[in-house]
């Protein structure tokens, strides 16, 4: 079991709205690791649930804390941070 974590800032103007949340949940869902994501004003939620991701209200400039637990935790953190860093390809 590996634990990996990162803090990454939301770049895109519109923040984590529905489409980015879908992408995020889709990528997180590829991994067997348990992944949570939260920020200073929101409790950590399941990164594989779009509904829960939408409850983060993560605007541009929000520092997301992503924590992964599992064999593929490092790869999961790597792919998810790339997605956020690239502004969800918007």
């Amino acid at each position: 079991m590996t634990t990996a974590t990162t803090t990454i800032t939301i770049q895109n103007r519109l923040g984590m709205h529905a489409r980015p949340a879908m992408l995020f949940a889709e990528i997180a869902g590829k991994f067997s690791a348990e992944i949570t994501v939260g920020h200073a004003d929101a409790d950590a939620v399941d990164a594989k649930s779009i509904m829960q991701l939408m409850m983060l209200a993560a605007t541009q400039g929000t520092d997301l804390v992503i924590i992964a637990n599992g064999d593929d935790a490092d790869k999961a953190i790597d792919e998810l941070s790339t997605l956020v860093r690239d502004g969800f390809n918007e």
Binding site: L14, G15, A18, R19, I50, M51, M54, A57, T59
Partner: protein
């Protein structure tokens, strides 16, 4: 959620398909003077375009179709129930029984995310979804929303 338009709560949608239900909800916002006749077609098309990119039927029988547009000055929510269920191409493949349609000003991304947060905080609860689906009048829906708001505070 005071952005929910009372006159745009439809306890029983007539349409049994996705695009029809979206049009019906926008029409109710037109009737409630929240959307002009001129904007009606544009918004219906924009929401359908958005759905075609990726369904907002996120599972559990609910869908949250929405559009952000510069022509929208104030955030508005319309709510519709479909007793028979509608194929919304939902992620879990199930039919959708409650639709929460959101119009957001394009230049207020924070408000949009706050509204989505409020919507999903409610919709993620089994009991809320069940009560919403069972609501048979706009007053039922408003009572449910008020009780949920109070419970959160």
């Amino acid at each position: 959620m005071d952005i929910v338009v009372k006159d745009a709560i439809i306890p029983e949608l007539q349409s049994t398909n996705r695009d029809g239900a979206i049009a019906e909800l926008i029409d109710s916002l037109v009737a409630a003077n929240c959307v002009t006749e001129d904007q009606r077609d544009e918004f219906v098309k924009a929401i359908i375009r958005r759905e075609n990119k990726g369904s907002t039927g996120f599972g559990h029988g609910v869908a949250v179709p929405h559009v952000k547009d510069l022509d929208i000055k104030t955030m508005h929510i319309a709510i519709g129930n479909s007793p028979e269920g509608i194929d919304f191409k939902a992620l879990d493949g199930d039919h959708v029984y409650s639709i929460v349609l959101l119009l957001s000003p394009e230049d207020q991304p924070e408000n949009h995310l706050d509204a989505m947060e409020a919507i999903f905080s409610s919709l993620s609860q089994d009991t809320f979804r069940r009560f919403l689906r069972q609501a048979r009048s706009s007053d039922d829906v408003l009572t449910l929303l008020t009780e949920t708001d109070n419970a959160v505070r």
